[in-house]
């Protein structure tokens, strides 16, 4: 269990984190989402005491990280796949990390096997690919068999197989009753892994809810209808609380009427349909709408980047 209370971090004038409070519960995977520069990594560094909070505090299992007798056994952390000396072998790196806590070669070999690094364990880390570095970082996080895992962008640089592996591992660790806190800037990835999601935007918590809640909110009720007789179908559909918008000559988007009813109405008046697709807003859309005001590094020459990109997409459809 991680509890952040009013966590604030200032770098000179810039406020990286602005009174961030949240709880990360054990027994589930909690996703930490936000655009680049939102403060996800800073938050994770503050949890393990690598950075000092300007205000507020954060505890892991009731204590500040530095106050634990065996920090590596409480919290396993992957902050940066590059937090390793390039001249050292993966095995020696893990051995040196473990030695601080009296964790020996046996456990080191276990985590090497668990992360699939056997074939490269004795090679120098400098020659590792990003994916192998990521696996080594995860191996280091698992070294102390900790009850809490903090993984910053764990799937970054992994191949599809590796992505599935991290997802399975995270879910497995959570099922064992551990607290699993992982960050990503990809909502789609989080949706498949996390049970609960905390969204950060420009140093503030802008959402803190279960994946189901976010999914339910994201579900749209629109239906896409493709028909050569758009002009004759439109008046048939219109009614109380129903909107019909023509996005192209043969394409309609209908809101407020289920696909089945549209099909029945079209059949009853002999209108030919080429397509009838219920639309559901993606999680990505929900996330984009949550964070579109919170993007830190927006191109200021374009007033509304999101709107422009939507227009471009429509252009492509036409």
């Amino acid at each position: 269990m991680i509890i952040a209370d009013g966590l604030t971090k200032r770098y000179g004038e810039r406020v990286a984190l602005d009174h961030v409070s949240f709880e990360v519960q054990p027994g589930m995977v909690t996703g930490f989402l936000g655009p680049n520069g939102a403060g996800k990594s800073t938050t994770m560094r503050l949890i393990v005491g690598l950075d000092r909070a300007s205000e507020g505090g954060v505890t892991v299992n009731g204590k500040r990280y530095a106050d634990h007798r065996a920090p590596l056994r409480e919290v396993g952390v992957l902050l940066d796949a590059k937090a390793v000396h390039r001249g050292r072998s993966a095995y020696d790196h893990l051995l040196a990390m473990g030695a601080t806590h009296g964790i020996g070669a046996k456990r080191v070999k276990e985590v090497i096997a668990l992360t699939g690094l056997e074939s490269v364990a004795k090679k120098r880390v400098g020659g590792f690919s990003l994916g192998m570095g990521q696996r080594l970082g995860i191996a280091a996080a698992l070294l102390g068999d900790p009850a809490t895992l903090i993984l910053d962008e764990p799937v970054n640089g992994l191949d599809p197989e590796g992505v599935v592996w991290v997802r399975t591992l995270a879910r497995h660790l959570a099922r064992e009753g551990r607290t699993v806190f992982l960050s990503s800037h990809l909502m789609s990835e989080m949706a498949q892994t996390a049970d609960h999601i905390i969204v950060l935007g420009r140093g503030r918590v802008i959402a803190d809810e279960s994946v189901e809640t976010i999914l339910a909110r994201a579900k749209g009720d629109g239906v896409r209808v493709r028909t050569p007789h758009a002009s004759s179908l439109t008046p048939l559909l219109q009614g109380q609380g129903i909107t019909v918008t023509g996005t192209a000559a043969d394409l309609l988007e209908v809101h407020g009427l289920p696909a089945s009813r549209i099909g029945e109405l079209a059949a009853s008046s002999g209108v030919v349909l080429h397509e009838l697709t219920p639309l559901s807003g993606s999680l990505e859309d929900a996330y984009m709408s949550l964070t579109q005001d919170e993007v830190e590094y927006r191109d200021t020459s374009v007033p509304d980047a999101a709107a422009v990109s939507t227009d471009t997409q429509k252009e492509a459809v036409r």
Binding site: G49, L50, A70, R73, A83, H85, R86, D92, A99, T100
Partner: protein
């Protein structure tokens, strides 16, 4: 295997091993021995100390002056010359110790390893001092062993070149060897703490080398040009001048004559300790306070 509905209670870690200073020392030893650069730096210190000793010992150190009977050369002057021959390499190998001292800490900052180190020891003090201790002890041992081997290698050479035989029961000679190894370790540690303060390899090495080599030269040129006594006195307390007394044969007489301070072997050692303590305290304060 537990199920999703009833998460297993994880076993308490209270009974398992935890973070200890002994563990940090073991960790730092593993780190030191698992980098090739460290090995080569120590190997170079070893080889150069012996090589220089052999080179000097092969020369005629009596300066061509007739020493009379052989036992006269076995006296204090002979042992002093032998000590100079055996320890001469330190003037150069201290450079390697300083570079290595800076590298063992700045290498961690440069690669990001420091983040792993400080998550394992979030209070940081144990890791910083543990690393210093391991590096200092290893440097001292490498230095001492290399100086003893250098003396052994020099023995037959000194005998044939200068008719000097090393008296292994001479405590003053041993003190110079121990002092030489100690100087290497302490100079390396000053550089280590400067590296911890500066955090970049280039900066750390520059600061270490600058303090050891450049500052004394600048002060000596300044003193030569201006005859300023204060500059000469400051120069006496620089690590290379004060520490240099550590490996002289009964080096120096402490005192002040005409406003010029001079140190002896013991004071030279204390000045070196002072440098290590001051840079060490500064490093500890900064490392504990800064974001890693």
């Amino acid at each position: 295997m537990s199920t999703a509905t009833a998460p297993a209670r994880l076993t308490s870690h209270a009974s398992l091993s935890h973070l200890t200073f002994a563990g940090l020392l073991r960790s730092e030893w593993i780190k030191l021995r698992s980098l090739r650069s460290t090995f080569w730096c120590f190997a170079l210190i070893f080889v150069l100390n012996i090589g220089f000793a052999a080179l000097i010992a092969a020369q005629d150190l009596t300066g061509g002056a007739s020493q009379g009977p052989a036992d006269a050369a076995a006296g204090e002057a002979g042992m002093s010359a032998a000590t100079t021959a055996v320890t001469l390499g330190i003037n150069f190998t201290v450079l390697i110790a300083a570079v290595l001292g800076a590298l063992v800490i700045t290498g961690e900052y440069g690669t990001g390893m420091i983040k792993s180190t400080f998550t394992a020891d979030p209070r940081r003090l144990g890791a910083l001092l543990g690393k210093a201790l391991v590096f200092g002890v290893v440097t001292f041992i490498v230095g001492l062993v290399s100086l003893i081997v250098a003396s052994l290698v020099a023995t037959p050479l000194l005998d044939s070149s200068s008719n000097i035989s090393i008296d292994w029961s001479d405590g003053t000679f041993w003190l110079a060897l121990v002092g030489g190894a100690g100087f290497l370790a302490l100079a390396g540690l000053i550089s280590y703490f400067l590296g911890a303060i500066i955090r970049s390899s280039a900066g750390g090495i520059a600061a270490g080398i600058g303090l050891l080599f450049v500052v004394p030269i600048v002060l000596s040129i300044f003193t030569g040009l201006t005859n300023a006594k204060w500059a000469a006195n400051v120069a006496a307390f620089t690590p290379s001048n004060a520490g240099g007394l550590m490996y002289g044969y009964g080096a120096g007489k402490a005192g002040i004559t005409d406003g010029i301070v001079s140190l002896d072997q013991g004071l030279g050692f204390l000045v070196m300790i002072g440098w290590v303590v001051v840079t060490g305290i500064l490093a500890v304060i900064l490392v504990k306070r800064r974001d890693a």
